[in-house]
């Protein structure tokens, strides 16, 4: 973890709100993407960002190891997202196929300065990736998101999930294989 984040965490633990704000600024986009991978809805993902950081603030003093801070935040974000998804399912709010890439995301995607062909290609890629991620069992999904989206090492993921590195390796391998198969005809 960067020295900057360690210093900010130490200050935030003493109640320094400015330091906490900097932590939010550094991690908010990664947390959003993590949340979005689990619930592909921009409003829900942003709510998860808020929930994660409010929870994080309330847990700050209980964080003993600064080294595992980033892992702790991503684990918290994934747990918030999974809990929310469960609640949504209970409410029987199902995300229709059209909502897999909601209108607001379409707008974001179309803002990119790319040719229309590239734009269509990226939307197609997002749909494929989203469909695979959605179908993965929880542990494979977490391993894939934490490794290839949040950039955690296998050792960090093992620590985050409380399982052996071998379990992370095999889950990650299976998840990537499913993604690879789904992308085989892409491009």
């Amino acid at each position: 973890m960067s020295a900057k984040l360690v210093a900010l965490l130490k200050s935030a633990k003493t109640g320094d709100i400015k330091a906490f704000e900097q932590i939010v600024r550094i991690l908010e986009r990664r947390v959003y993407m993590t949340a979005y991978a689990i619930i592909p809805d921009p409003d829900e993902a942003m709510d998860i960002v808020q929930e994660t950081f409010v929870k994080l603030y309330n847990h700050l003093k209980r964080i003993r190891s600064e080294a595992g801070f980033k892992c702790f935040v991503f684990k918290m974000a994934t747990n918030c997202a999974i809990d929310r998804k469960r609640r949504l399912k209970r409410k029987k709010i199902s995300l229709s196929e059209d909502e897999t890439v909601p209108a607001s995301v379409e707008i974001e995607l179309s803002r990119r300065n790319e040719s229309p062909d590239k734009d269509v290609e990226r939307r197609e890629l997002l749909k494929i990736v989203q469909a695979v991620v959605d179908e993965l069992p929880p542990r494979q999904k977490l391993c894939l998101i934490l490794a290839d989206l949040d950039g955690l090492s296998k050792k960090e993921i093992a620590k985050t999930l409380g399982c052996p590195q071998g379990t992370v390796r095999s889950n990650l391998h299976i998840a990537r294989l499913k993604l690879r198969r789904a992308l085989k005809d892409f491009r």
Partner: protein, 77 residues
């Protein structure tokens, strides 16, 4: 799984995750580049790993993050 290189996929994942030593990397790439099937598999594996970056496309604009941050800070202070 390639018969001539049974642990190819495992090594390829370690390569893509940046876990190989410079020597291992050199040996691995040397073998992978010589074989058409291995090269193709490596490309597919890299695409799968890189495809997760597509989520960067769904990031909302700075204004949405600014409002969310304000709400977070007002909730904790």
């Amino acid at each position: 799984m390639p018969k001539a290189y049974p642990d190819f996929e495992e090594t390829a994942e370690r390569y893509l995750d940046g876990e190989l030593t410079p020597d291992e990397k050199k040996r691995f790439l040397g073998r992978a580049r010589k074989d058409e099937e291995l090269s193709r598999m490596l490309k597919e594996m890299k695409l799968a790993k890189d495809s997760m970056r597509i989520y960067e496309d769904v990031l909302p604009g700075a204004a949405k993050f600014n409002s969310a941050r304000k709400r977070i800070l007002s909730a904790v202070s």
